[in-house]
Structures are given as C-alpha cells and as structure tokens.
Amino acid sequence: MTDPTTAPARHFPEAPRPGAVDVTPPDSTVLRGGTLSWLLPRRSVLAAALLLPAVVVLTALAVMASSTGMSLSDTLSGLLGTGDPGTVMIVRDFRLPRVFAGLMVGAALGIAGCLTQTLAGNRLATPDLVGVNDGATAAVVAAAAGSTTGMVGAWWLGPIGAVAAAAVVVLCAGGAGSAGYRVLVTGIGVSTFIGAVSDLIMSRENDNTAGGVFLWAVGSLNGRDWAVGTPLALVLLLLVPLALAVGHRLQLLRFDDDVAASLGVDLRRLRAVALALAVALAGTAVGVGGPIAFVALAAPILAQRLAGPTRVPVTGSALTGAALIAAADALGRVAAPVELPVGVVTSVLGGPFLLWVLLRPDRATGKA
C-alpha cells in the first residue's frame, strides 16, 4: 500500500473522472491550465474588483480635498507638475505623501484587525487588545514627558512600543501559540497596566504636553510626508505578502489542532506567526497615524460582508481599511472650518456606517 503523503501527484488522473463527486466549494470556480488548477473564490474576487476602484476614486478625492476648494484639473496639473508652483507643491509635497501614508495605514490596520478577529474567532478582537495601542502610546508619552518641549516624538517610537508591549503580553501568556484566547485576555490585563502607567505620567505633565499627546492619541495624518511614507511602504512590502499567505492558511482554524495536524499544519506555529504579523502591522500603523479608532474593528467586518462567510478576507480588509482612511482624511479636511484629525472622523462616522451595514442583513448568509 502506498503511503498517501509520499505518493507522487501524477498518479491521480488529470481530468475529473466521469461520475466523480464535484468537491468545488459552492461560491468558487476552478480554473485549470494543464496540470495546474486554481480555486477562484468568485464572491471575494468580485468584492475586490468592486473595492479597488472605490479606493482609487477615494484616493483621488483625498488628494483633491481641501478647505479652499481645488478643481480636478488643478489637481491633475499639480500632479503632473504643469500647474502653478503653489499647487504643485501642495499636491506633490503635502497632499500626495499624506494620502499615500493614510492608505498604507488603513491597509495595515485592516489586515491586522482581520488577523486578530480570525485568530480569536471574536468580532471584538482588535490588535489593541494585545497591547499595541497602549504600548505605542506609552512609548510616545514617555518620550514626550522626557523632552523639554513637550513635542510628540518620532513615528518609529510607536512600533517599538507596540512590539515591546506585545512581547510582554506573549511572555505573560506563556507563548503566542498556546491558545489565542489566553493571549487576548492576558493582553487586556497587560495593556490596562501599561495604559495606567501612561495615565500616571500624563496626570503629572503640564497642559501643553498633555494636549500634544492627546492630539496624537486621537489619530492624525497631519504632516506625514515621504520621510515617513517611504519606510512605511518598505515595511508593508515585506509584511503584506506574508499576511496574505498566512490569511489563506488561517481558514484551517475552523478545525481543531488534531485535524489540522493531520492536514500537515502546525496550528500553534500558524497562530504565533499570524499574531506577530498583526502586531507588526498594527504597530507600524499606530506609529504613523496614532491609534486611529475603529478601522481595525470595522474593516474586517465590512470585508467579511463582501467576501462571504467562508473566507478570511485579508485582501478585502486591506482595501476596506485603505478606503475608510482615505475617505475619513478627505472628509476631515473639508467638513469643518478647522481640520479634523482622521481619528475623529473614523470614529464619528464609522459608528453610524457600521450600524447601517448591520441594519441591512446580509442576503447571502442571513446573518446580522
């Protein structure tokens, strides 16, 4: 008898046998080319195809949006460098890098939220539960309290604080792979502790420092230029493909450890890797934009709505997150007489938006 794990794949017939049971999942199409086949999830591909142009349109709007009003032709000429120098400078040096940074922050938050929600099987599980936000805030607060100017420090303090906090969480929980739930609960304990330390520092600072840190802690993209956008892009270029690969495997979390092991997957290691990716992504995003509320929670939920219940919507969450941030950033610049930080817009409008989605039950799944 041949061991099935070592049997060469060519022993299997290349075309489906007549009368063979069709095992294609209901919402998928199988693409075949010679010996290669690819399972195409129709619904999530359609969702991505709808989301991508939405992101593009929102990006264009975000580049255009300003309190003074800028026409499409002005924006284009600024972009191409043919307009008057002022417009060119605004579009190329201020608006574009900022929108770019926002898109990446949104994508990172969306993916991180998707990974943590899938890991825990809990819609409330966002990266800030494992101490990401509080760790980043504590690092920034400590730096601001230490400096004489009360200025908020460099953006890379955020990811460092976030990763440090998450490392403490994982150490306290006794390993990231053990059980997703234990990590989350430990994370709440640890991040409450770290948050209290920042509170204590802040309550002894003067108004200036407290106000500066508060503005950062609301989440703002103001003044984010290429000096931030370029390293951010490099970090994401490394992390996002990994997250996509891991996200695909996370569908195996529906099985328990023994079944997964028989499929050749070490679920403990998979969980540990997914958690590490979520922390790194969220930490980077928090460092750049501050702890922007709600995107990591809402983007995966909306993406799941689009992609259907059987998928882990990593791509969809990234696109949804990017779209949410781009829209919020643009709105924040035109909606009020003073510029609103993006975090304020995401939380004020994100809430009703999510409710609106909730009030319309998904026809395909019948779930709220």
Binding site: A173, T192, S203, D207, D256, V344, V345
Partner: protein, 361 residues
C-alpha cells in the same frame, strides 16, 4: 469559539475528571471568604487615610470610645470623608461586577465589558458637553451629566440592537455598542480638540477618583442601582437558559432576543451609576466576571453574586491603596485598579481555570 473549545479539550485531557470536587461547597467557601474580606476592607477603608487622624484613633471612634467620639476632627475624617468613599466604592464595585457578568453572559462574549454598551463614552460625551456649553464644573453636576449621558447612550444602543430582523442577537448587541461607543468617543475628541480648558478638567474626570464624593451625591443613585441589581437577579434563570443556545432557550419557553434586551437595559442602568460616581472604569466589568467564572463555572446566580462581590473587593482595595501609595497625595483610583487588576487578570488567564471561563464564549 473554536480556540476556547480546543483549550478546554486539551486541559480536560491533562486533568483526569473522575473525581471533580463538589462545586457547591467551593462556591460557598469562596462567597464566605469574599464577604469576610469585604468586611475587613470596609473597616480598613474607614480607619485608613490622611488628614492627621491616626489609625488607632479612628479605630477607637468606630468602637465608640467617648473621647474619640468627641473629637471633631476624627468624626469629620471618618463620617464625612471616608464613609462616603467607602459606600461609593461598594456601589461602583457591585454595579460594575454585576453588569459585566450579565453582559458577558448575554452577548456570549467573554471579552465584553460594560464600556461596550456605549455607556462610558456616552457619559464622557455628556460630561464634555456639560463642561463646555453649560458651565457644569462641580463634581455633583458632572455626576448628573455623566449619569444622564451614560443612560441615554445605553438606551440608543438598545434601540439599535433591538430593531431589525435579528433583534437582540449577541453579535448585533456587541457591534451596535462598539459602533455607537466609537461615535460618542469621536464627538468627545472633537469637542476637546477645540477647547483646552475643558480638556484639562476632562482628563482628571476620565482618570476617575472617589475623592470628594458626598453622601448626597450617592443617595439618588441608590434606587437606580437597586433596580438594576434586582433585574439582574431576576434575569439569572433566563440567562442560564440562554446558555443552552437560543434554540434550547426557546424550547424552554424563553424569548432570547427579549431576555438580552432586558439584560442590557439593566446593564446600562448599573454601568451608568458606576460611571457617574467613578468615571469611565471599564476594566473592572471585564475582570470580575472573569474571575467569578473561574470559581463558579457556568452557574449563573453564583456567577452574578461572586462577580459583584469580587468587584466590590477589588474596588475597595484599589481605593484604599490610592490613599496610601504616594502619601500625602492621592493616586487616581483607575490607575491603581489597573495596577492591581492587570496582573490579576493575567494570573487568572494563566491558571488552569481559564478553560472553563473561555468555554462560555
């Protein structure tokens, strides 16, 4: 909740289940222990504090020593300063513990805490509005604003969660709560960004402290808290039925959606009282039910009682520590709560009892 189930299966394998201890007796023992601790903490809370009143003198006052009774300074310290604080800590702790326990059971989500219903952020928004537009700056006025805002937010969340085809489903409650909570939070940030003077008062309110609470502030809250606790106790049976799943509960003649709405109503009442007195302390509502579940397992009434007791104990302990840690100054009670509760939660999460706790999800 696949992970939690996986954890349970593993730990069940490692510990042979042949001779489980009778759960009733350990629950009784835990209840008695927590009650005794509570009494001891109340006494400590009355005798410990600053203000030139030594512990022995306060103790004499409590025992009815005539010389101490005649001392106006000791009388002021014990009766007018420490007694209201002690009562406030008891009220806040009991309310948060009970509310958290109910909410986690109703939403079947062990990560749910009382802040989730939008009560905390609604209260914070109301406080900020009161500060900026209505010149409310006394602790009593802030308390009224916080209570009104918290209850209103809870009511709005309930309205949203209770409408539509899937009215009262756990996911709907949780999502409606976090969605509206985020909205209120954003509105608060918006107002605060414009006015730095408000921000200064707000940042002390939001840290939370029981200092300066007066009996007259607490009295109007008592009937509300009592109503909430009574509803909570009446809800334990239907909630246990919900533990069988919605279909199981229906077959026993319950209406799952309706139960959840009543329960969340009680939760917003209780959490509203707590946030009015002590500011937005969300953490205790998560910690206490977690600890209680580790002790009681799935028994709903025991869970509720123990959760309230544990929260009251922790709250009192944190408030006593807040007075003595950096004498003669006060530490914000929420900071101490986090210092006490954070490691405690980590410890519970690491103990073997977690498997029972997570399985509720």
């Amino acid at each position: 909740m696949s992970l939690a189930q996986g954890g349970r299966r593993r730990s069940a394998g490692s510990r042979p289940p042949e001779h489980p201890p009778p759960p009733g007796r350990s629950i009784h023992r835990a209840t008695t222990g927590l009650l005794l601790l509570l009494v001891a903490l109340v006494l400590l809370s009355l005798v410990i504090g600053t203000g030139g009143s030594p512990v022995g003198r306060a103790w004499d006052f409590l025992l009815g020593d005539p010389a101490a009774r005649a001392d106006a300074q000791i009388r002021l310290a014990v009766m007018d300063v420490r007694l209201p604080r002690t009562l406030a800590a008891l009220l806040v702790g009991t309310c948060l513990g009970a509310a958290g326990c109910l909410l986690q059971a109703a939403t079947r989500n062990p990560l749910a805490e009382t802040g989730l219903l939008g009560v905390n952020s609604g209260a914070a928004f109301a406080v900020v509005v009161g500060l900026t537009s209505f010149g409310a700056d006394s602790p009593g006025a802030l308390l009224v604003w916080a209570l009104a805002g918290g209850m209103a937010a809870g009511a709005v969340v309930l309205l949203f969660a209770g409408s539509g085809r899937t009215a009262g489903s756990p996911l709907r409650l949780v999502l409606a709560g976090s969605a509206l909570g985020a909205t209120f939070h954003g509105c608060t940030s918006y107002v605060l960004l414009g006015t730095s003077s408000t921000f200064d008062t707000y940042r002390y309110w939001t840290i939370g402290s029981l200092a300066g609470v007066e009996i007259s502030d607490l009295v109007p809250l008592l009937p509300l808290a009592a109503l909430g606790l009574l509803t909570a106790l009446l809800c334990t049976r239907p909630l246990s039925a919900l533990g069988l799943g919605d279909d199981g509960a229906r077959s026993l003649g319950h209406h799952p959606g309706r139960i959840r709405l009543v329960v969340t109503g009680a939760v917003s009442l209780l959490a509203g009282c707590a946030v009015a007195v002590a500011g937005p302390i969300a953490f205790l509502g998560l910690l206490a039910p977690y600890a209680a579940r580790a002790l009681t397992g799935p028994r709903m009434t025991a869970q509720l009682v123990l959760s309230a007791l544990i929260a009251a104990d922790i709250m009192l302990l944190a408030d006593i520590l807040a007075r003595i840690v950096i004498r003669p100054w006060e530490t914000p009670v929420s900071v101490l709560l986090a210092f006490v509760g954070g490691p405690l939660l980590v410890w519970i999460a690491r103990s073997s009892k977690l498997s029972t706790a997570g399985a509720e999800a």
